[in-house]
Each structure stands twice: as structure tokens, then as C-alpha cells.
């Protein structure tokens, strides 16, 4: 009677197609912008795979990115447009660094100390998101606006704290003192920066997918995001949307903790570097079902490290990856709109 909807498959292909088009545009861009396009392209696309070090660096970066993307997916699913990822990551970095400091002072067991840092960071991110969620429940203020505003404020406050009162004395760096090395995430392939953060992110992705697709609350969040009046009619509380928002914030905070506990080993001013926003982009590209977030985050990390390498090895601008990402995003979202 009704043909099974091939929707998911078609959508996935359309995304791959859009990414392919973005790469094509990148090649054209390289030809226009570089005096030696061959060298530039090689640097851009292949340099991340040229050595273990660059490859593992790319993976390490994809961890926090993936977690941010998963957080954005969870919020999107519930119909909450969480634009505060960047600020949630930022408070996460501060909270993780402070918690690591406390762990040192208390002399906690390393495993316990790491868990304490991650959870504190998650709680900080969750609190930030909670402000927006509760504002929407109580007053109807739009999450999309409040999450952005709260996040921008948080960024300023964290930067001030990290570069001001909490700054390590006598250091040239605008950052807090390095955390005790036992409370950092174990490195998996030294000397590369790849840490336990990456497998943690993958595990979180698996959990998120199981939660959104398989659990009862996952289904409720999905229905709430798709049709709020239907959700209310069948007895799903709008508070669940707020809960999804808080969860999303917690994931942002957790991503922040990976930044601190991984390669950097300390909280530094401006260390989020747009990972929250890029996570949002990854979520949009992957289509908010969680599963697509893993390849999309890797793709993003590849573009990012490729453009960094290309700017060192050739005359391409380091902004090339942002342009590429923007193009990919544009193509994908344009295609999705067109389908409706």
C-alpha cells in the first residue's frame, strides 16, 4: 500500500554528495588562490595522513568536536536550538581545571580525579544550559536567543577569570597553572597528543545513539521536537525538552574538560577556539541522528588539520577550512530545505 520510505538512505547520500561538491570547490579554490596548486592540494588533503603525529592530532581534535556535535544533536531533537555550545565548552574548561586543582590538593586517586574533573565540567555546562531551559519553561523566552546570550557572557567571564585572577603567576601565558600530570587523560600514542579523550568521545557517541534511538525518553524527546502539541496531547511533558537542553549543555562542558585534560593540560584564555560552533555545524551536517556525527566530526577534523598544515606547507590561507566548512554546510542545508 505504502512503499517503505527510503528517506534516511537518500538523505545520507545527499550529504555525501554535498561533501563531495565542497571538496571540488576546495580544489578550484586551491587553483585560484595558490601559486602552486598541486602542492597546496597535497598539503591540504594528504598532510593529515602523512605522519602518525598529524593523524593522531586530527583524531584528538575530533573528540571534543564530536561531543559538542552530539550535544547539539540531542538539543535539536527536542526542538531546542542550543546556540550556546561555545560558552558551555568554555565554562567546562574552567571547571575542569579548577576540579583538577582540587584533586591535587586532596590527593585523589588519578582515575577518580579525572572523573571528578569531567563531571564537574559537565555540571558547569549543564548549569549554563539550564538557565536557558528554565527561562523557556517559565517565561517562554526562546532558547535560541538566551543560550547564545548566556554563552557569550560566559565566554567573557571565563576569559577574564583565566587571564586575570586565576592566571598562573610569573607565566607569559594567559592561562591557569598546568594541572598535575596524573590528573590528565592518559596519552595513547606518545609523543602524539592522542589521548583517552577520543575513545571516550566514541563511547559517548554510542551511548547517545542508544539513548536517542532506543530509549523511551529518546522517543519522547523526538516527538516533542517534531510536534510539541502532539507531544502534549499524548502526555509528554515539555520539561523533557528542558532536560534535553541540560544534557546538551553537559556534553558541551564535557568537551571542554577534554580540551583541558588532554593536550593542553591547563585552561588557557580563548582555548575553545570555535569548537562549540563547529560542533553545531557537524550536527547540522550529520542530520541530528547521532550516528552521522562520527564520520562528520572526523571529516571536519580532517578539513581543519588539513588547512592548518596547508598554511604551513604552502601559501594557502589558514582560513581555507572555514570557507570549506561554510560551503559544505551551505550545500547540505540548502539540499535539505529543497527536499521538503
Amino acid at each position: 500500500m505504502n512503499a517503505p520510505a527510503p528517506r534516511a538512505g537518500v538523505m545520507a547520500w545527499s550529504r555525501v554528495l554535498a561533501l563531495g561538491a565542497a571538496i571540488l570547490i576546495a580544489i578550484i579554490y586551491a587553483f585560484v588562490a595558490s601559486s602552486d596548486p598541486r602542492e597546496a592540494m597535497k598539503a591540504f588533503f594528504l598532510s593529515p595522513f602523512s605522519s602518525d603525529y598529524t593523524f593522531f592530532s586530527m583524531l584528538e581534535y575530533s573528540g571534543p568536536l564530536l561531543i559538542c556535535a552530539l550535544g547539539a544533536c540531542v538539543a535539536f531533537r527536542a526542538g531546542a536550538f542550543n546556540l550556546g555550545g561555545e560558552g558551555q565548552v568554555s565554562v567546562g574548561t574552567l571547571a575542569a581545571a579548577l576540579a583538577a586543582g582540587i584533586s591535587s590538593r586532596l590527593g585523589l586517586d588519578p582515575g577518580l580525579g579525572i572523573a571528578f574533573s569531567i563531571l564537574t565540567a559537565a555540571a558547569a555546562g549543564a548549569f549554563l544550559a539550564y538557565l536557558s531551559a528554565i527561562a523557556e519553561l517559565k517565561t517562554g523566552a526562546q532558547v535560541m536567543l538566551t543560550s547564545f546570550l548566556v554563552s557569550q557572557t560566559a565566554l567573557i567571564v571565563v576569559d577574564w577569570a583565566v587571564g586575570g585572577p586565576l592566571r598562573e603567576e610569573g607565566s607569559n601565558l594567559l592561562g591557569m597553572a598546568p594541572i598535575d600530570s596524573v590528573y590528565r587523560l592518559p596519552l595513547l600514542a606518545p609523543p602524539s597528543p592522542l589521548s583517552l579523550g577520543f575513545p571516550l568521545a566514541l563511547a559517548l557517541a554510542a551511548l547517545t545513539i542508544l539513548f536517542t534511538k532506543g530509549s523511551r525518553q529518546g522517543m519522547e524527546i523526538r516527538l516533542l521536537g517534531k510536534n510539541p502539541s502532539f507531544a502534549w496531547a499524548v502526555g509528554i511533558s515539555p520539561k523533557l525538552g528542558a532536560a534535553a537542553m541540560v544534557l546538551s549543555g553537559a556534553m558541551g562542558g564535557m568537551a571542554g574538560s577534554l580540551l583541558v585534560l588532554g593536550q593542553a593540560g591547563r585552561a588557557v584564555k580563548g582555548m575553545t577556539g570555535g569548537v562549540g560552533w563547529n560542533g553545531l555545524a557537524v550536527a547540522l551536517i550529520s542530520g541530528t541522528d547521532g550516528l552521522g556525527a562520527v564520520p562528520a566530526a572526523l571529516f571536519f577534523a580532517w578539513l581543519d588539520s588539513g588547512s592548518k598544515q596547508a598554511s604551513i606547507l604552502s601559501d594557502l590561507s589558514p582560513d581555507a577550512s572555514s570557507v570549506l566548512v561554510a560551503i559544505a554546510l551551505f550545500l547540505i542545508t540548502a539540499r535539505r530545505r529543497g527536499r521538503r
Binding site: 500500500m1 505504502n2 512503499a3 517503505p4 520510505a5 528517506r7 542508544l210 539513548f211 534511538k213 532506543g214 530509549s215 523511551r216 522517543m219 519522547e220 523526538r222 516527538l223 517534531k226 510536534n227 502539541s229 502532539f230 507531544a231 502534549w232 496531547a233 499524548v234 502526555g235 509528554i236 511533558s237
Partner: protein, 513 residues
């Protein structure tokens, strides 16, 4: 002199080729007010929209002053002098009355500047001439319902309207406002304006109209002069064949509790106000009983549905379910164990269109399935398929709800809501899009559930559906219960229709008299 003449207007709708208008003809003289009456679905609004050029008919002709008018074009209709006032107000909220009146044909000063002064003068003259009670400088958003209606009519006249087509103009007006409005219409006809007045309210017809066209099932059932007509007669004409056919079919009596049941009180409304200024409403529904609330659009039925289903909170009075206040009751508990709810807004509330059929069916059984069912999906598929098939819905459980036809969407909702006994069934327009076999299944299911102790509140605008299943019928008019009686079969139809249309002529078992 004949102003307007429509001949053989015929309009089909949809794939099923439903005849909405079947060869309708009517004529209108200068200064004549013709009322077009009929039940829901009789084809009144379709006719109005065809005359206004909003819909193109499949066949038929229209002439004004003997000149033919191209059908299906709003512009052609306006140029010919037809002004349409739809049920829902279409004024620019932020502009003044005068600005609205001259919108899109603003008087000019110095060739291109809009002259506000000229607009006000023009408007003031029009208001003066026809006796509107309007301030040309008032901002539309500050106006009340009655003033809005006047402004819309003034706008139609300002655009050169010689014929006004008014679709249920008084549905948003209070009784007092309606009276003033009808007086205004009489002034207009003295100036030669022809008026086609579409209405549900028979009392207004006798007040305001010179002639009456009664529509039934898309056809002209009768043409009368208002002076020869009375409300009972119109009611009979509007409902005629149904009473006849229902009499011969003689549906089996509903199997609810018999005489003066002593069942437990399941739903109770205490002092609930459905419309601003309306009398407060008390309703009691007992276990085993099927109560039908019937009304025409705009008389509080939607509000009643919102309040008893808990979709919206009542500002006045209380809604009690099994003696407990609905307000503050955990929503999930309410819906999973206490109340089945089939909403009239099928796509908005009844379904999540972009979700799968499976998810829609199992939306009330969310707790039955966990993460392990995601890996092996078959258990959920099976449950969804079985539920659907119990209502004759055969479709892939994984297909999107949006891919289902209207009838299947309704079956899906019924399958979800009536899958297990719940003490209270709120059924708003539950028959929509159902074929006869599914309707019969629905009737059977309601009786079965009520025989097992459920209580059902049926919220419908069709008398036939109400009399087909209910033990008791309540009629709402302007938000008040104007009629309440036990169901005694199809012979009650004219009395109910009279109550629905606000007619005073029928002496039924009136309430609050």
C-alpha cells in the same frame, strides 16, 4: 432590477469527486438581502468563495447587471462589484481604518505621495453615508469584533462593491452586536446594495433577509420569501432527507447504561465558561454513558474540547475527572491510564506526521518498550501492526504517518486511543474521513468500552453522528447549553438543529428557561 445571477454553479472536491455545489442557481435584485442557509457541509462556504472568485467552479455562469463575470478570479469579481467578507478578519492590524479602506488604491497627492487627508475624507464620507459606527483614525488592532466587521464591510463598499457576500458575519459577534450589525445591513440595502448573507443562525435570517435559499448536500433545497418562512420550517428543510432516511434505517439503540443510571461520575464540569460573557456550564458524565455535545462552528465546541482534554487550562470553573481536578494532574498518568483522546485537529494534535506509523501508534505505550527493542525492532513493529490492523489499518509500520491517507490517519489515532479500556473517552469529530465500515467498527468499539464501564464524551458538529451513538445530547449555542435531552432517535433532529441555530421557535426540553 436584477443585480446578480448565478446559474448552474457546480464544484467537485478532491480525488473522490465530492460534489460540494451541485448546479446551484440564485439571483439577487438591487437592494435585496438573500440569506443562504444550510447545515455544515451543505455547500454554503464553497458557494461564497466561488462568488468571490477565490475558487473556480467546474461549471456554471455568473452575471452582474447582465454582464458575464469571469469565474475563478478575485480581480474579476472585485471589478464587477462583488465584495467578499470572509469569516476570519483580514484587515491590516497596524493601520488605521481609513488606511485599510484605501489600501492598494490610495488617493494620491502631487502625483505619487499617498494623501492621508484624502483617505480620511473619503472614509469619513462613506461612514457618514451608510451610518457606520467607526472612527476613521482608529488603529485596527484596537477595534472590537463588531467594529472590525463594519470596517471590512466599509472596505468592500469603498472598493465599489455593489454586491456583498458575507460569510457568517455574526459568528464572532455577541447577541447585542449582531442586532446592531443587522440594522446596518438594512441601511445598506436601502442604498441599493445587494447582500448575500451566509449564516447558521436562523433567527437572524428572519430579521435581516428578504429572501432565503436553503442548501442541502450541495443543492438548492428550497427558495422562500422571508415573510412566508419560519424557523421550524427552515430547520425541516435543512434536515429533511436525513430524518427520512434515518427513520427507515432505524439504527440500533446505543448500548450505554439504561434509564437514570447510577454509574460512577467520571467527568464533571463545574461552572466552566466557554465564551466571554456566556453562562457557565455544568456537565456530568457517568460511567457507561455516551454524551454527545453538538454545536455549529464558533459556538464553543473547540473550547470544550480543549478544556476537557486538558490541552488548555480553564480560567473559570473546574474540570473533574473521577472527582479529581484535571488541573495539576500528571499529564502522563492522565493519558496513559485515565483518558483516551481523539482530537478534532488530526494533523496537529492527533499525529506526528514526520514520525513513523509505529511511533504514532505506540506513543501511548512508550513505557512498554526499551532500548533492547531498538536492536531487534520486530517487537515494536509487530505491536504497531497488530494495533493498526485491529482498526483495519494495513500499512508498513515504518512508513511515515504523512504518507497515510486521511482515513488511515484517523484509523491510526483510533487504534492508538481505543486499544485498551480507559475510564474516560474524549472523542472530537472521531468519524472524520472514515468509511462506513470503519464508522461501524468505531461505534461498536465505543459501545463495547462503555458497556465495560467507560464514559464517552462525543464532541461533534453533526447531528447524525450524535444521534447515532449517544445516550444523551447537549446542544451548545454561543457557548451555552441551550438544549439537553435523552436520545430518542432521529425524530429529534429538527429540534436539535433548531437549538444549534439559535432558533426560539422550537419548544424542546430547554435548559435555563
Amino acid at each position: 432590477m436584477e443585480l446578480l445571477s448565478a446559474r448552474g454553479i457546480t464544484k467537485y472536491f478532491g480525488e473522490t469527486r465530492v460534489l460540494a455545489n451541485d448546479g446551484i442557481s440564485l439571483s439577487l435584485m438591487e437592494g435585496e438581502t438573500r440569506a443562504v442557509v444550510g447545515e455544515n457541509g451543505a455547500g454554503k462556504s464553497t458557494l461564497a468563495r466561488i462568488l468571490a472568485g477565490l475558487l473556480a467552479p467546474d461549471s456554471g455562469t455568473l452575471t452582474i447587471h447582465g454582464r458575464s463575470v469571469r469565474l475563478g478570479s478575485v480581480k474579476a469579481a472585485e471589478t464587477a462589484g462583488i465584495g467578499f467578507v470572509p469569516q476570519v478578519s483580514l484587515l491590516a492590524e497596524g493601520l488605521t481604518v481609513a488606511e485599510n479602506l484605501v489600501l492598494a488604491r490610495e488617493p494620491r497627492a502631487a502625483g505619487f505621495l499617498v494623501s492621508k487627508k484624502k483617505a480620511y475624507v473619503e472614509t469619513a464620507l462613506l461612514i457618514e453615508r451608510f451610518g457606520f459606527r467607526l472612527d476613521p483614525e482608529a488603529i485596527v488592532s484596537s477595534l472590537g469584533a463588531s467594529e472590525r466587521r463594519q470596517a471590512e464591510i466599509a472596505r468592500a463598499l469603498a472598493r465599489g462593491g455593489e454586491v456583498l457576500v458575507l460569510d457568517e458575519p455574526t459568528s464572532i459577534l455577541s447577541e447585542a452586536e449582531s442586532a446592531g450589525f443587522l440594522a446596518l445591513l438594512r441601511t445598506l440595502s436601502q442604498w441599493g446594495t445587494g447582500i448575500i448573507l451566509i449564516t447558521h443562525r436562523l433567527s437572524e435570517v428572519l430579521d435581516a433577509a428578504d429572501s432565503i435559499t436553503v442548501l442541502r448536500e450541495g443543492r438548492v433545497e428550497a427558495e422562500l420569501a422571508a415573510k412566508d418562512a419560519d424557523e421550524a420550517m427552515m430547520s425541516r428543510l435543512m434536515a429533511r432527507s436525513r430524518s427520512a432516511s434515518a427513520a427507515e434505517a432505524d439504527r440500533p439503540r446505543p448500548a450505554g447504561m439504561a434509564e437514570d443510571s447510577e454509574g460512577e461520575c467520571v467527568l464533571e464540569l463545574r461552572g466552566v465558561q466557554l465564551q466571554a460573557g456566556s453562562k457557565r456550564l455544568d456537565i456530568t458524565l457517568k460511567s457507561g454513558e455516551v454524551l454527545a455535545a453538538v454545536a455549529l462552528a464558533g459556538n464553543g465546541l473547540g473550547r470544550l474540547e480543549d478544556l476537557v482534554s486538558g490541552m488548555k487550562e480553564s480560567q473559570s470553573g473546574k474540570v473533574l475527572i473521577q472527582g479529581k481536578n484535571l488541573r495539576g494532574m500528571p499529564r502522563e498518568l492522565l493519558r496513559s491510564t485515565l483518558m483516551a483522546y481523539v482530537p478534532s485537529d488530526r494533523e496537529g494534535r492527533g499525529l506526528c506526521l514526520s514520525s513513523s506509523l509505529r511511533e504514532n501508534v505506540l506513543a501511548l505505550r512508550r513505557g512498554d518498550f526499551g532500548a533492547r527493542d531498538w536492536i531487534g525492532r520486530s517487537r515494536r513493529d509487530k505491536a504497531a501492526r497488530e494495533a493498526g490492523e485491529s482498526f483495519g489499518l494495513k500499512a508498513d509500520p515504518r512508513s511515515a504517518a504523512a504518507s497515510l491517507s486521511g482515513g488511515n490517519r484517523q484509523r491510526l489515532i483510533l487504534a492508538r486511543e481505543l486499544d485498551r479500556p480507559r475510564p474516560l473517552l474524549i472523542l472530537a469529530e472521531p468519524m472524520q474521513s472514515l468509511d462506513l465500515a470503519s464508522q461501524a467498527e468505531l461505534f461498536r468499539r465505543i459501545r463495547e468500552l462503555c458497556a465495560r464501564g467507560s464514559a464517552a464524551l462525543l464532541i461533534v458538529s453533526s447531528i447524525e453522528e450524535a444521534l447515532g451513538i449517544a445516550d444523551r445530547v447537549i446542544v451548545l449555542y454561543r457557548g451555552e447549553a441551550v438544549f439537553e435531552a435523552r436520545n430518542e432517535g432521529p425524530s429529534m433532529a429538527p429540534a436539535i438543529l433548531a437549538a444549534m441555530t439559535g432558533s426560539a421557535a422550537i419548544e424542546g426540553e430547554r435548559l435555563g428557561a
